[in-house]
């Protein structure tokens, strides 16, 4: 039993729904009680889909248990076929149906349906959403994809995009463009946009572009074995990764690498002097392994940030994240416990969080800006505009998205210079954000007066004693006051550096001098 507040991933049958909803002409018959239909609104509301997900729920109730739940399943299956006339059906159980052991897979075989019925075994009490999507897609491919002749021209499949995926819709367009520039045509995009009949001709492509390892790696490996289709290992998020991806595709396709950079603005935006203030900003990354690994590279190499910590919630990508963390010299955090992520962020006091919808909430609570880089995301991260993460435009989008939550460069300087100003001060918030500026409390604005005991904000230690390693470090009141004059977006870093500096030297009390000695020590 595990105490859970918020979850990063839904149950595995939601992963299966993401595959089914992305596809066309496929229907999912899910043995599930009333209430599990909540998952429909993930698609109709959060993703604003204009169709119901192609899912029939058997909706069994307490009074059905032990009598005719199996019968309910069979009826639901037959009626769903009659009503929706799908080219194939996938069948499975949600967490409760798994317990009553009706064996939907076995039952569906006995129904004599005229289309393939693909049974799904998704252990709800062991695995989660990404596994569910990956396993479902694999089972669909394994059942429906047949050996076929390769296309005459060089083609590739794009595999991995699903319903409810973070920017999957736009990434497909972007990656299709990247391939076209090199003369590589797209054979099938799957699961998103594909029909079961398209799945059948996956084998015609010369290679696979594995867009999201989370949802399609097992299928990619299977097709590599069965159809002799190699798959790409680079996920083209960021400028460097896009260039690597182009090189990788060129090699697989036997063509010249080619990338039209006329629309690429990100490197110049990052190099322009206005971005100098981004240098060394301390960022923490958390999300699915693929996006975190790609974004860590962008953060350090393309934005000039300092990566102070990173992690992922999907254990399947733990190995990748551990190796990235090693490369960056930070401790990896592999957990799906929201509270543990919150603790780590509080501890590291980054200046920017690159995370999921969950970290957006952590950021709000701790007063740290946050940009979203990975699922799970909320309705605002399914924008109307074209907004990919991959390729050239993806890099442009990422620059804008990550910079947006921050206070702008010159504004940051002014805040540092005139930090006693009663109208324009750090906690009033960035000028380009919509919310109302909070005026500074009056007593703070009168120079020379003792502001009295101050209540520490949530983002800081609740008291003046904080442990760093084994030594307890105490902030003297004057130093504490001086620290408060530092703008909030660098205060966490200053506090942390000073404490580390003091602890390393065995200094138990931090004075104003210690603060500035530490500042000089860490100056770059």
């Amino acid at each position: 039993m595990k105490l859970t507040v918020w979850t990063y991933e839904g149950p595995p049958h939601v992963g299966a729904m993401r595959v089914a909803t992305g596809m066309k002409g496929l229907h999912y018959v899910l043995h599930a009680p009333q209430g599990d239909t909540y998952a429909d609104l993930l698609f109709t509301m959060i993703e604003r889909r204009n169709h119901r997900p192609p899912v029939t729920y058997t909706t069994f109730q307490a009074r059905d248990l032990g009598s005719d739940t199996a019968h309910l399943f069979k009826t639901a299956c037959l009626e769903a076929y009659d009503r929706f006339q799908p080219e194939a059906i996938i069948v499975g159980a949600s967490c409760t149906a798994e317990l009553i052991q009706d064996d939907p897979g076995g039952m569906s075989e006995t129904l004599g349906l005229p289309v393939p019925a693909i049974p799904l075994e998704l252990p709800s009490y062991q695995r989660k959403e990404n596994f569910g999507a990956d396993e479902t897609f694999y089972q669909i491919v394994k059942t429906l994809a047949k050996p076929v002749e390769k296309t005459a021209r060089v083609t590739a499949n794009l595999i991995g995009p699903t319903g409810l995926g973070f920017r999957h819709r736009d990434d497909i367009t972007e990656v299709t463009g990247l391939l076209m520039e090199m003369g590589v045509e797209v054979n099938v995009v799957a699961p998103m946009t594909a029909r079961p009949s398209d799945i059948a001709r996956l084998g015609a492509a010369h290679f696979n572009v594995l867009m999201y390892p989370e949802t399609a790696e097992t299928a990619a490996r299977w097709m590599e074995r069965e159809f002799d289709q190699p798959y790409t290992k680079t996920v083209p998020i960021g400028v460097g990764a896009t260039l690597d991806f182009v090189a990788e595709v060129a090699k697989l396709a036997g063509v010249e690498p080619k990338l039209d950079e006329t629309r690429l603005r990100m490197p110049w935006y990052s190099a322009s002097v206005d971005s100098t203030y981004l240098t060394g900003k301390r960022v923490f990354l958390f999300g699915d392994g693929t996006h975190v690994a790609a974004c860590a590279r962008i953060a350090r190499n393309e934005m000039g940030f300092e990566v102070v910590g990173l992690g992922c919630y999907n254990r399947e990508q733990a190995r990748l994240i551990r190796s990235v963390a090693k490369d960056f010299g930070v401790e990896p955090l592999i957990t799906d416990d929201y509270l543990e992520v919150e603790r780590r962020i509080e501890e590291l006091a980054p200046e920017l969080i690159l995370g999921t919808q969950m970290e957006r909430h952590i950021g709000k609570r701790l007063g740290i800006p946050c940009a979203v880089i990975s699922a799970p995301v909320h309705v605002q991260d399914f924008p109307a505009r074209y907004s990919p993460q991959m390729g050239i435009e993806g890099a442009n989008v990422i620059f804008d998205t990550w910079v947006h939550p921050l206070v702008m460069g010159l504004e940051e300087h002014l805040l540092t210079m005139f930090r006693e100003d009663f109208e324009f001060y750090d906690e009033a918030g960035a000028s380009h954000h919509g919310h109302k500026a909070k005026p500074r409390p009056v007593e703070d604005t009168r120079p020379g007066l003792d502001p009295g005991p101050q209540v520490a904000t949530n983002s800081e230690a609740p008291d003046q004693v904080r442990g760093t390693g084994s030594i307890e470090v105490v902030w003297l009141p004057a130093a504490e006051k001086e620290l408060k004059k530092i703008p909030f977006f660098v205060r966490g870093k200053a506090r942390r550096n000073t404490e580390t500096f003091a602890a390393e030297r065995g200094v138990a009390e931090i004075s104003v001098d210690t603060l500035y000695e530490a500042k000089a020590h860490y100056a770059r």
């Binding site: 595990k2 839904g10 109709t44 109730q61």
Partner: protein
């Protein structure tokens, strides 16, 4: 007191045969009620004993992820709990101890049963009893089921309140109890009106915190503010309390009838009643008239959702000039619904339970002006050109009593006004 309203229909819906359907239900389970209950009771914590699906439902259902730490969580069952490798009761003790250490401010803990916990027959009543003894007097532990195999959407609140009734102390005091978790502003208005008539003392279930609780007994009379509180109704009956039957307090008519039923119970004179209600009634009437202009003459189709469907159909047909085509409810409890059914003119199909695909066919064939349905159906129907009101907003918005009557009509008229606005732009 109700003379200003249209006369009741010669034939209401009380004896209308009900279309009973079973098939796919497109409704939430009872766990969803935790979303509002955990904010209503400020010293309570809701621990769902369930699966990852339950946790996922709670954070996605209402689109609610609040940045404050919520006063609810899920104890997610794992393989070891199911295979009997770990004693589920011991595991639960461990999780609850961990939770109470983290949140020492909790005074009431609800262990909430789910589909998986019901199926494996995890005895939460036994657990609650054991933990109550262990953590008394600081924490009281109660249990109820919000599972989808037993409850739909708002029945979760009913199960929760029903679980609180047996632990209320016994009392012989003549008191009025208002039952149902209402938004604070609405609750204060209701109490204000009743107190102005000289009625009191007035108690509320659920109380905002455990310290403000009271007793119940044979001299307690109670009024329901929500139509889904059937188990709570029965539990209060078992304590000897008596129900004041009335239509539910939606709209000018519903509110007046509801208040008048209570006023009569407490011997309030018609003059006094008129004096207290006249001004807010006039305001409600005016506000409804303004907000319901676009509703007048239109038709409405209700998919089953929150149990509010029948009283709302009564409001829309009698006060907003609409015609009801179908009124679907997850279940229909006669004893509680009769006053509203009597006022709803015979005509619409009354449906109980659901087979969503069949119901969608009926809805498409009827082409109502407005369809009231859940979030899973609203956007797909909008995309087909139907105008919808997503039903969960009716549960999440202050809609009861006089001052909100215009807002209630507004919730239904806004989708129609919006479609008209967008069509105007498209036509230009």
């Amino acid at each position: 007191m109700t003379d200003r309203f249209a006369p009741p229909p010669s034939r209401g819906c009380s004896n209308t045969p009900v279309l009973k359907e079973r098939g796919q239900h497109e409704v939430f389970c009872g766990l969803t009620g935790i979303i509002w209950l955990h904010r209503k009771m400020q010293d309570a914590f809701f621990l769902v004993v369930g699966s990852r699906t339950c946790a996922h439902l709670l954070q996605s259902a209402a689109g609610v992820m609040i940045f404050a730490e919520p006063r609810f969580a899920t104890a997610v069952l794992e393989e070891t709990d199911l295979a009997g490798m770990a004693d589920a009761q011991e595991e639960l003790d461990r999780v609850v101890t961990e939770l109470l250490q983290r949140r020492p401010d909790i005074k009431q803990l609800f262990l909430v049963g789910s589909c998986p916990s019901e199926v494996i027959k995890l005895d939460l009543a036994k657990a609650a009893e054991r933990m109550s003894a262990q953590f008394a007097p600081h924490v009281r532990v109660l249990n109820y089921s919000g599972s989808g195999i037993e409850t739909t959407f708002t029945q979760g609140e009913d199960a929760c309140l029903a679980a609180m009734v047996p632990v209320l102390p016994a009392s012989d005091a003549r008191e009025l109890l208002l039952v149902g978790a209402l938004p604070d502003v609405v609750e204060e208005q209701a109490i204000g009106l009743l107190e102005a008539m000289g009625i009191g003392p007035i108690r509320v279930l659920p109380a905002p915190n455990r310290d403000s609780e009271y007793g119940v007994g044979p001299n307690t009379v109670f009024a329901l503010t929500q139509p889904f509180l059937t188990d709570t109704h029965a539990a209060l009956g078992r304590r000897g309390a008596r129900h004041i039957a009335a239509p539910f307090p939606f709209g000018e008519e519903g509110t007046t009838q509801w208040l008048w039923a209570i006023a009569q119970e407490f011997g309030v004179s018609p003059e006094k009643f008129a004096e207290v209600t006249e001004k807010p009634r006039a305001r409600a009437r005016k506000a409804i008239a303004q907000a319901s202009e676009v509703l007048n003459g239109g038709s409405v189709f209700f998919f089953p959702d929150s149990q509010l469907e029948i009283p709302l159909a009564r409001f829309l047909t009698r006060e907003c000039g609409m015609q009801a085509i179908e009124v679907g409810a997850p279940f229909i409890h006669r004893e509680i619904m009769t006053p509203d059914l009597d006022l709803l003119a015979d005509g619409p199909t009354l449906a109980e339970g659901q087979d969503v695909d069949k119901q969608l066919e009926r809805c498409r064939a009827a082409r109502p002006n407005l369809t009231v349905c859940g979030l899973g159906l609203a956007n797909p129907l909008e995309a087909e050109g139907m105008t919808t009101k997503w039903a969960i907003e009716l549960v999440f918005t202050p809609v009861h009593f006089y001052e909100q009557a215009g807002d209630l009509a507004g919730l239904f008229s806004r989708p129609l006004r919006r479609r008209a606005l967008l069509q105007q732009e498209a036509a230009e």
